[in-house]
Each structure stands twice: as C-alpha cells, then as structure tokens.
C-alpha cells in the first residue's frame, strides 16, 4: 500500500512540474524515476528505468496549444509498477525495462489527451474571475491558480496509478511468456540511448551543427580513453 502512495506522489510531482508550477525538469524520466526509486528503496534501479525513457520525448516541444505526451507521470507510474515487481523478486531488470518502455509510451500519449481535457475544463475559470472582479475581489484569481495546480496533481495521481497497474500486469505477462533473463539490461539501455539519439537529432539536424556533433564524438572517445 505504501508503495502505491509513493508512486501516486511521484505522479503528482511530475504532473505539477510539467506545466503548472516551477517547470524545473523534475518531470524528466531520469529525475522522477531516480526520486521514485529512492522513495521505494531502489534508487539504482529507478535511475536505470528513467535513463531508458529519458531521450524518447526530448524532441517533442510543449509549445502553445499543441497536444504533447504527458511523459512525467507515465514514467513515474511505469517505473513504480516495475519496481514493485522487481522488489518482490519476480522479475529481472532487463524485462522490467522492456515493460516500462512498452507501458510508458502509450500511456504518456493518453496523458497528453487528459491535459487537453484539463485545459478545456479550465476555460470555465475566466468568466468566474471576471465576475469576482465585478464584486471587487480580483484576489480570487489566486484561488483559481491553486485549483489549476490541484487539477494537475490529481491528473498525475490518476495517470501514475493507472500506468503502474498496466506495467505490473504487462511485466507478469512478459514473464509468463518466458522472457525472464532474456534481455540484457545494458544492451537494452544502449539500444534505447541510440534510438533516443536518432529521435533527438531532429533538433540538431542543420549542416551547421554537424562539425559540433563530430567534435562531440571525438571528445567522448578521448574522455573514455582518459577515464
């Protein structure tokens, strides 16, 4: 029960940070999954699951009225579900990673549509704020800001709990298919970082950035050799 509370809290933090308050990247998968892992007593496993997801949405920009994936709560929920199974000793890290990836991506998409609904609901705020100005109480606008933060927190709790349940079931399903011990965790991470590189290249695709990209590869090789 307490694990579900930690997952719900992480979902709320991620959803509030996504757009409602601060926006300090606490909702990035690497951050929220490490924090969640620390809360559940498995920070290393949490960080691994976050690193798997980290690069998938970097090229998706939360601009204006665009519908974007709500990946923070989805990452927290998927990692939470997987960590619960991992801690019970019924799965290995590689399989947990695959389950997290397969759960977080579609549920982040669903979350994006929930954000859209939330913003449509919040359209009702404006007439109420105008009415409060007419009653000489413009300070009521702060109340509606708090309600907006509350909406985001509730969205995060619901999304994280739902995603955790799906991840848990999927992980049991994958285990039933006999995939346990079949997926090397580091190979999965290398593959997902490679995939993330390809996805994120879109942001740096101009010819002008190619020498900088190549320079980065050289610096990386030298760093590894020196380290």
């Amino acid at each position: 029960m307490s694990a579900w509370i930690v997952v719900a809290a992480a979902g709320a933090v991620a959803a509030v940070d996504t757009a409602a308050f601060f926006q300090g990247m606490f909702h990035q998968p690497l951050v929220i999954c490490t924090l969640l892992g620390a809360g559940l007593g498995s920070p290393l496993e949490g960080a691994y699951l976050g690193a798997l997801l980290q690069m998938l949405w970097l090229s998706e920009l939360p601009v204006g009225a665009a519908t974007y994936s709500d990946y923070g709560p989805a990452a927290a929920g998927a990692a939470g579900g997987a960590l619960m199974v991992l801690q019970s000793g019924h799965a290995d890290l590689g399989l947990a990673g695959l389950a997290v990836l397969l759960t977080a991506v579609p549920l982040a998409w669903v979350g994006g549509h929930i954000i859209r609904v939330q913003r449509e609901i919040q359209s009702r705020f404006l007439p109420r704020v105008i009415a409060s100005v007419e009653r000489n109480r413009p300070g009521r606008v702060r109340w509606y800001i708090l309600v907006g933060i509350g909406h985001s927190a509730i969205r995060g709790v619901v999304e994280a709990a739902l995603t955790a349940a799906v991840a848990l079931l999927l992980l049991w399903g994958l285990k039933a298919l006999g995939l346990e011990g079949q997926i090397p965790p580091y190979a999965l991470l290398a593959g997902m970082l490679g995939a993330g590189l390809g996805v994120t290249l879109k942001l740096f695709s101009g010819k002008e950035f190619l020498p900088w990209l190549a320079g980065g590869v050289m610096v990386g090789i030298i760093t590894v050799v020196v380290l």
């Binding site: 409602a20 926006q23 690193a51 900088w212």
Partner: protein, 251 residues
C-alpha cells in the same frame, strides 16, 4: 493618487511567475497567470479600486509567451502601468498596451521555445545521461542543477530587466543577444549528443565494442528515419522499442 510598485510586490510577481501556466486554458492561454502575477503591483499602483479593477481586467485578455521569459513581460507591464497611472509622457494607451502584450508573446515565445525547450532541455538531459553512465545516482542531480540554475536566473533577470527597461526590454533581448544564446546552446547540445555515443559504447558494461556500435548506430538510424517518416509519434516510438527489444532477445 497613483503610486509605484513596491519591491515586495515585484518579488511577489516573480514568485507568482512560477505558476504562470497553472490556470492555462485554450481561451486565454496564460492570461490568469499574468493577471495573478501583476495583481500585487496593481494594488500598489492604483489606490482607487475602480482603476485597479480596470487595469486588472486589461490583463485578463489573451496572453501567451514562454513561461520562463514571461517575467520580462511582467516586469515591463508593471513599469508600463506605473507610467500610465502617473500619466507620464510616453505612457502607453490601452491599444498600445494590448499591442505590446501581443508582440511580447510572440518574441518571448519564439525565443524561449528555441532556447529552453529545443536547446537547454536536450543539452542538460544528455549531460545528465552522461553523468548517469559515469555514476548512476548523479544523473538526476546533474540534470536538475544544470537546468535550473540558468532557468531561475533568467526568470529573476527577466523581472529586473523588464522593470528597468519597460517596453524597451524586447529589443534588448530579442535581437542579436537572443540569437547568439540560441546558437551557442544548440552547439553545446550537439557536442553533448556526439559525446553520448562513445560514452555508451565504450562503457565497462557494454555488450562488446563492435556489437555496441552496431546496436547504437542501427537504433539511431531507425529512430531518425521513423520519426521523420511517420507523423504518428507514439506508434513510431513503440515500433522502435520493439525493434530494440527483439534485437536484445536475439543476441
């Protein structure tokens, strides 16, 4: 009798800017966030509640900028309201104020989206991943520190510059300085992205130098191709995950 916004009210506006998007809606976008941030200053500037309410209503109109850079607009609008209340020469009229907010929205929105969302965010995320590869628990901390120090400083500086320069703040950040900052953060992002590949392939846990190189190169090519070819992003990501998963299973 018109007054000036106290320092404490400007600080309250800065703090309120952190919740700029909490009341986001498709009708007014960030209008509630802007109005809430300006309210303490409007209370100082206008003694007459009627005038204060009119000023508040002005800022309930549609507003959309980048949430971090919106402090430049908040500071400038406080200054503009002070000038307006004091009937200073050159104070903006209602139509000019509305036009200024519109221009602010487009300039700050475009600048912030390119600098923060498409530049600093991928750069710090990739550096965070590199830190993760070197020492797993430092990844998240690196990402948070590297991102939030400039993030909070820009918000604070925006408030200061906006209030000092008033409507003149846009030329100060929107031209050459903004373009140069975007170019450099993107260059740094490209370097970080380039560094991530060898750090991953040559990691002590790597499946093998050749195998790791093939895996990363194939996954990167698939990711690049899928996201370019298909508009359905979620489906593309799922296909990508399946491909990497199947590769891991087969090897």
């Amino acid at each position: 009798m018109a007054g000036r916004a106290r320092r404490s009210s400007r600080f309250a506006a800065f703090m309120a800017s952190f919740a700029f998007q909490a009341g986001y809606s498709y009708d007014g976008f960030q209008n509630l966030g802007l109005a809430a941030a300006l309210l303490p200053a409007l209370n100082d500037i206008y003694d007459d509640p009627q005038e204060r309410n009119e000023a508040f209503r002005r800022h309930l109109e549609f507003f959309c900028a980048h949430p971090y850079l919106a402090t430049f607009a908040v500071g400038a609008l406080i200054k503009a309201e002070e000038d307006r209340a004091a009937s200073s020469p050159g104070a903006m009229g209602e139509a000019e104020l509305a036009r200024f907010k519109q221009v602010c929205g487009s300039v700050l929105g475009s600048l912030g989206d390119r600098f923060f969302w498409a530049g600093l965010r991928p750069f710090t995320a990739v550096v965070g991943l590199m830190a993760y590869l070197i020492s797993p628990l430092y990844g998240a901390l690196t990402l948070l520190l590297l991102y939030n120090v400039p993030h909070v400083l820009v918000r604070a500086e925006g408030m200061r510059m906006g209030y000092e320069l008033g409507p003149g703040v846009l030329p100060a950040i929107g031209g050459e300085p903004g373009a140069r900052a975007i170019l450099w953060v993107k260059r740094l992002g490209a370097v970080a992205l380039g560094m991530l590949a060898p750090l991953t392939i040559m990691h002590p846990l790597t499946p093998g130098l050749l195998e790791g190189t093939i895996l990363m190169a194939a996954a990167a090519a698939a990711g690049w191709w899928l996201l370019r070819r298909h508009r359905q992003r979620t489906l593309s990501l799922l296909i990508l995950i399946m491909l990497v998963g199947v590769y891991c299973l087969l090897t």
